[in-house]
């Protein structure tokens, strides 16, 4: 080697101990430095990163990778498959292996992915210095918290949680409580039906939880209950009912009779054959008259109520007719004595073991105290350290308890949650919890089936799961979430290492522990207690959680806030509901603001006069008026929690009107069909007349390979809105906010229209996505060809060609097109960008958009078929709305495949096209709703 010339570069090289460096060595050193530099780009993962240890065969960016896990709401597991693309969870599907899902989801599960990416999520531990005002906390760290926790004053530990079914969390909590003498656990379940639990104790002398099998019932009577919407098993119940109804219809048999007496309109009542709207006291009276033939010991029934005589007569006939195939379901509006009576009635009808089973309550916590007891302890000064885990009692608690003023009496208040919420503001320490999709965990389903959680993404922030937090607090040697859950199940199953590994792999893969549902209880003959005979107050308030934000828990979720409530179609609000006659008597109308007073606590709330609401009773939705929900949920609606009594679901209410007015942001103004046959109905077994063929001006488009089409069964649609949110999540549909909804600019690609039904207040729902007309009026009028037909019959919108004339929307008779009047998609919050589906364009202002039949899913399936050489089969393409639908009312498939589900649906005698007389030849068509003739 020649001596290098003395340049600056070579001078450096000469300093190197190995002056004789070769080009090859230099390059390898550079490559190594690059690799090291790359490694420094992000901090090393705190723990094992499981999901991406082995890249899936399909590769990133192709098929989404699904993780079976559980979304936990109210303590109960809802089995989901979290779809990730490029490592980001973007869409949730139901877990077909999970008993509460069977592949379907509700709107909450669909919206849970936005909760994960909520920019307002708590990202860091926070400490509030002693004496600092509420909310004045500063960022701290887990290490500092650990120090503070070790140095905490000993004794007097109280832990407050929500309903808890997780075996791992409960074991860890028990271990923590066992370490601390005198430690106490309290459970606060704001949405739980206390009267139902007490009713079970009256009837059977023990705690039990009913599991309804609506597929086995030929008559379902719901009293103040909504089995299609309430409780952790609602999705399953709706699905069971729909499946049985379809089977009966196909077999030419009469479907199950549904009967409902309810206070406020509910999804079950909307679908019921007969429905009455009654105040709770009158529902109980009706119950006593209906139950009398079977449960005579309940006492002499009250005198007949002429208004409901017809309903009762039909109900009795239906119960007698169905006999043991009946079920009677009571809801939170009824007293515990009424619940006991309903349990006895089910037993006497012979329903137990057929239409209903009883299991031990999966969330039973016999040794746990209540929130009221915790408040007493706080006032007594016996609470030294209070740990609030995943609960928000400072907001979600009855006003009479004065929780917010009692909480600071704990010497050390530690709050752990997803958000820096109202309770966190009072706490000395706030700890950020991981989202369900970031953590290992477990929880029980409504029927007791153990469900596992696995992370679909590493935690976005420095968060811990509840199990990990409890392990830290209890000084458990195992701190890793996965290790904790594994250890718990290893202990529980007592399997050997190899056998456990197989069990574990299978359980994690499917998301459920196989065959872990609770066995049915053998219960003694039910006893009944006399129902209170005292006259109810003239005007009562009932408290019901807001059907979209789930009592305020999801108040910061824009998708849910903007979700039109099923009956009123209002968004971004929590109005006080009342019946029309009550409103007239009080001289009130929709939009009037009233002062509502319960036991001296007052609230100003806007009135919504709901024609389907019972008279002499008011519904106060819980969940509005959040003060520390985040930038979306703060100040939306009014907070009725302060008015809620501690131990009753009902309270006497005084109402005075104010001069103020309130404007609601609704997505549908009128509910009459105006004599137009939009939702068609048929008596059982009947057929619709065939539509005449009509000529068209332009030649038809050919769809030689695939011809995609959709069929929506209005007979099984219950109007639950799961499709709307599923579509919003899948298709990057922006949230526009309250004012823009009021201006008529909501962006939902599939809306659920509601029309008045039968005279007794049933409702008919009709989901309306794009019809993908073969003679599409929109295509004709676009001057730039931004909306065109594709070779598979889809009416596609070409965003980057659209100049925004909006002529297409004017010419769409179904008004399914949505326009970006302003910049609606949120570009300011970084995490929201991560939620977006990479296969779907994010639309900017000025362009039209609409349902695409999830064209990205169609393309994905087609590409997969091309890559693998396996032809597409029916069911390979599932649209987002179809996948979510709990009653499987939406079917999608290929018209060129004669065996496809959708071809089968379109051959039904109930098949019709919406506004078929316009000759738009829609690819989306409907199946008429079957309604028993009067």
């Amino acid at each position: 080697m020649t001596a290098p010339t003395p340049t600056s570069t070579t001078a450096v090289l000469r300093l190197h101990p190995h002056a004789g460096i070769t080009r090859r060595r230099l390059l390898s050193a550079m490559a190594a430095s690059m690799a090291l530099a790359n490694g420094a780009c992000s901090p090393p993962s705190r723990r094992e990163a499981h999901p991406w240890a082995n890249l899936p065969e399909a590769g990133a960016g192709a098929l989404p990778l699904y993780y079976a896990t559980s979304f936990v709401r109210g303590g109960y597991a809802h089995g989901v498959l979290v779809g990730t693309q490029e490592g980001r969870p973007i869409k949730v599907e139901g877990n077909p292996a999970h008993p509460a899902s069977l592949g379907a989801t509700d709107a909450y599960a669909q919206a849970s992915v936005l909760q994960l990416w909520d920019p307002d999520r708590s990202a860091v531990a926070r400490r509030r210095a002693a004496g600092a005002p509420p909310g004045a906390s500063t960022a701290s760290s887990w290490a500092e918290f650990e120090q503070a926790w070790r140095a905490r004053p000993r004794g007097g530990l109280h832990v407050l949680t929500g309903p808890l079914t997780s075996p791992t969390e409960r074991a860890l909590l028990a271990a923590l409580l066992a370490r601390e003498p005198g430690a106490r656990w309290h459970v606060h379940a704001p949405g739980a039906d206390a009267a139902a639990a007490e009713g079970t104790r009256i009837a059977f002398g023990r705690d039990a939880r009913p599991i309804w099998h609506l597929d086995r019932a030929r008559c379902v009577l719901a009293l103040g209950a909504d089995p299609f919407a309430e409780g952790p098993g609602a999705v399953r119940q709706a699905m069971d009912w729909a499946r049985a109804r379809s089977a009966a219809r196909d077999a030419g048999a009469l479907p199950a009779a549904l009967l409902a007496a309810e206070v406020a309109p509910g999804l079950f009542g909307a679908r019921a054959d007969r429905r009455v709207a009654l105040a709770p006291a009158r529902i109980e009276q009706a119950l006593r008259r209906i139950a009398a033939p079977w449960v005579p010991e309940a006492g002499t029934p009250p005198a007949t109520d002429p208004a409901v005589a017809d309903f009762e007569r039909r109900t009795l006939a239906a119960l007698h007719g169905a006999g043991a195939d009946s079920v009677v379901i009571a809801g939170p509006d009824l007293s515990r004595e009424a619940h006991a009576l309903v349990l006895a009635l089910n037993q006497r009808l012979g329903a137990v073991g057929r239409g209903v089973d009883f299991i031990p309550p999966p969330d039973a916590a016999p040794d746990a105290g209540t929130l009221a007891e915790l408040v007493d302890a706080l006032h007594a000064g016996t609470v030294v350290t209070l740990l609030v885990l995943g609960a928000n009692p400072a907001f979600e608690s009855p006003g009479a308890l004065e929780v917010a003023s009692a909480l600071p009496r704990a010497r050390l208040l530690v709050h752990a949650g997803l958000h820096v919420d109202e309770t966190a503001a009072l706490a000395d320490w706030h700890l950020p919890l991981s989202h369900a999709y970031e953590q290992w965990g477990d929880a029980l389903a409504h029927d007791g089936t153990a469900s596992l959680q696995q992370p679909a993404i590493a935690p976005l922030y420095d968060t811990r799961s509840t199990s990990e937090l409890l392990a830290l607090l209890a000084d458990d040697p195992q701190r890793d979430g996965r290790g904790l859950v594994r250890r718990q199940w290893q202990r529980r199953t007592r399997l050997g290492a190899a056998a456990f590994e197989g069990f574990w792999q299978e359980s994690v893969r499917s998301g459920v522990i196989a065959n872990s549902a609770f066995p049915a209880l053998a219960l003694p003959a039910a006893r009944v207690a006399p129902l209170p005979a005292s006259a109810p107050p003239p005007l009562v308030a009932r408290f019901a959680s807001d059907p979209a934000t789930h009592g305020g828990e999801y108040a910061n979720n824009g998708w849910l806030q903007e979700l039109p409530r099923p009956f009123s179609k209002h968004t971004w609000d929590t109005p006080l509901l009342m019946g029309p006659r009550t409103a007239r008597r009080l001289g009130l109308g929709t939009g009037d603001v009233v002062q509502a007073e319960v036991f001296g606590r007052a609230l100003r709330a806007p009135v919504w006069v709901e024609p389907l609401h019972a008279e002499d009773v008011f519904t106060l939705p819980l969940g509005g008026g959040r003060r520390a929900a985040g930038h979306v949920g703060d100040g939306v609606g009014v907070d009725a929690w302060p008015l809620r009594p501690v131990d009753a679901a009902l309270a006497p209410l005084a109402i005075t009107r104010t001069d103020a007015r309130h404007a609601f942001a609704t997505t549908q103004k009128g509910f009459s069909q105006e004599g137009r046959e939009l939702v068609r109905t048929l008596p059982p077994g009947a057929a619709l007349a065939a539509e005449p063929a009509r000529a068209a001006l332009y030649p038809p488009f050919a769809s030689p390979v695939h011809a995609w089409a959709m069929s929506i069964d209005l007979d099984t649609c219950i109007g639950c809105n799961a499709c709307t949110i599923a579509c919003q999540a899948e298709n990057n549909i922006p949230v526009v906010g309250r004012d823009e909804v009021e201006r008529g600019r909501a962006m939902h690609w599939i809306r659920v229209d509601r029309y008045e039904g039968t005279a007794d207040g049933g409702s008919r729902f009709q989901p309306v996505p794009c019809m993908h007309c073969e003679e599409a009026p929109c295509e004709l009028v676009c001057p730039v060809g931004a909306t065109v037909h594709d070779s598979e019959g889809l009416n596609v919108q070409v965003y980057n060609r659209c100049i925004g004339t909006r002529f297409c929307s004017n010419n769409c008779p179904y008004k399914v097109r949505r326009f970006n009047f302003l910049q609606f998609s949120d570009k300011t919050h970084e995490t929201l960008a991560a939620q977006r589906n990479p296969d779907v364009t994010v639309r900017d202002r000025g362009v039209m958009e609409k349902c695409s039949y999830c064209v990205q899913r169609v393309a994905r399936a087609r590409q997969h078929a091309e890559r693998t050489g396996v032809a597409l089969v029916d069911g390979d393409v599932v649209t987002a709305c179809q996948g979510a639908c709990p009653t499987r009312a939406i079917r999608f498939g290929d018209l060129n495949d004669p065996g496809s589900d959708v071809v089968h649906a379109k051959a039904s005698p109930r098949h019709y096209a919406l506004l078929g007389e316009l000759n738009t030849r829609p690819r989306t068509t409907y199946l008429a709703r079957v309604e028993a003739k009067e």
């Binding site: 009028v781 001057p783 060809g785 659209c802 100049i803 909006r806």
Partner: protein, 450 residues
């Protein structure tokens, strides 16, 4: 040598006007008369309005059309209504210049110039709206068929594409017709102007007109030819504009009546605007001898006739809604009568159908004040008609679930008033820069009536 001709007086020109008097009077308005206080006040007021309009456009381009009250299902609002209204107004000028020329109606002479200017300005105001109303206005040129390397063309079945051709052709021919007719007058101004820059400016604009017999001969045949070309355009423009609606399937849009009904309405609103301008113009510049009560009478008669066409349109529309048995059409008409926009509809009927019946009375036809008030009412009525068609038809269409009401925001009004202000400003500038009445044709009239 015979004495120069002096008018003896006729329906269309008062007596005592010689060639030079006519030229002095009309050219004087442009060249010698000092601007009055009213003109200056109006100029600055409308200039402010014009600048505000430009600023509002800036905000619109920055924020998007969500500033307006448009929504689903009423995706078109004031912008499209204003567009149709202005296009309609733009009809009278060409009708007066071309059709009445071909029909040898002498009374057109003293009003055709400013009516043509009105046409141009109205069409310009109209032409802005289709661009302003776009979601992405910077791509407006995608409607134009131009060779594009992606081989993308406009979608020819869309009436919006036909609109582009109809409006741009109309604008082009109207401008040519106006300019060609003005050549001799520009030469006159060139010859009479004292300031050098004016002589240069008018001279350049006059394209070397020297008043030779050959010039006149060619000018006249070119003028007649252009009149022949412009005449079918009077019918075609608003017919095509009406197809923007008639091609659509919305009840209230979807009607074969629309082309003739829109043309009738256009002439109706155009003549109303001619009167709205002629009466103050005559008053301000003391042109009573040129624009006589007979002119007003004739214009009023046209107003009455076209008003009858419009009224017939309303009647037929209503009749067919019921006669067709189409429940959507029927519901649309009933909503027009009784729905939230009923006050607008009945005010429109009052302005367009009821009030014009006063024109059967000769005293009203000859009263400048009454005609001016009536013309304003018809302008308002025709604007309401456009709004009713655009908005009311959309707000209650097929699915009751999707119904919704449009209410204008402040921005909607700013964009309407802004265009009126700009129109007025352009007109104020026009009367000071160019002869508002054709000098050469008036001189012909002197000859003919002497």
């Amino acid at each position: 040598m015979s004495r120069p001709a002096v008018s003896h007086g006729s329906d269309v020109l008062r007596p005592g006007w010689g060639y030079a008097d006519v030229t002095d009077k009309i050219a004087g308005i442009v060249l010698t008369r000092r601007p009055g206080r009213v003109w200056v006040g109006a100029f600055f007021a409308t200039l402010a309005g014009t600048l505000a309009y430009l600023a509002a456009m800036g905000v619109l381009f920055w924020k998007g059309v969500g500033l307006w009250g448009i929504r689903m299902p009423v995706a078109w609002g004031f912008a499209i209504a204003n567009f149709v209204w202005w296009v309609g107004i733009g009809h009278a000028g060409t009708f007066i210049s071309a059709v009445l020329l071909l029909l040898r109606q002498k009374w057109r002479t003293s009003i055709n110039r400013f009516a043509e200017a009105m046409t141009l300005f109205a069409a310009a105001m109209a032409g802005l709206y289709p661009i302003l109303h776009l979601g992405r206005p910077w791509f407006f040129y995608w409607i134009v068929p131009y060779p594009d390397r992606m081989n993308v063309w406009p979608q020819w079945r869309s009436p919006l594409v036909w609109d582009l051709f109809a409006i741009s052709t109309y604008l082009l021919v109207s401008a040519l017709f106006w300019y060609l007719g003005m050549l001799p007058d520009l030469a006159t101004l060139r010859d009479r102007a004292r300031a050098r820059w004016k002589r240069v400016a008018y001279g350049l604009a006059a394209l070397g007109w020297r008043g030779e017999a050959r010039h006149w001969a060619r000018h006249e045949s070119a003028y007649l030819l252009l009149a022949g070309i412009a005449t079918p355009l009077v019918v075609s423009v608003h017919s095509v504009v009406s197809l923007d609606f008639a091609i659509g399937n919305t009840p209230g849009y979807h009607s074969t009546l629309f082309p003739p009904y829109f043309v009738g309405g256009a002439l109706f609103s155009g003549f109303a605007m001619v009167l709205t301008i002629a009466i103050p113009l005559r008053h301000a510049f003391k042109l009573h001898d040129f624009i006589t009560d007979v002119h007003l009478d004739h214009a009023a008669t046209v107003l009455l006739a076209t008003g009858a066409v419009v009224a017939y349109g309303y009647a037929v529309e209503t009749f067919f809604a019921f006669w067709s048995g189409d429940r959507f059409e029927r519901a649309m008409v009933v909503d027009r009568w009784t729905g939230v926009y009923a006050p607008w509809y009945w005010l429109m009927i009052a302005c367009n159908v009821a009030l014009p019946q006063l024109l059967w009375c000769k005293r009203v036809r000859r009263s400048a004040a009454a005609l001016f008030a009536l013309a304003l009412a018809v302008n308002l009525g025709m604007w309401l008609e456009r709004v009713t068609i655009v908005v009311q038809s959309l707000h209650h269409d097929y699915l009751p679930s999707a119904w919704g009401d449009f209410w204008p925001t402040a921005w909607d009004w700013i964009f309407l008033l802004g265009s009126i202000s700009t129109f007025a400003w352009l007109f104020l500038v026009f009367v000071r820069l160019l002869p508002a009445i054709s000098i050469s044709e008036m001189r012909e009239l002197v000859k003919e009536t002497s």
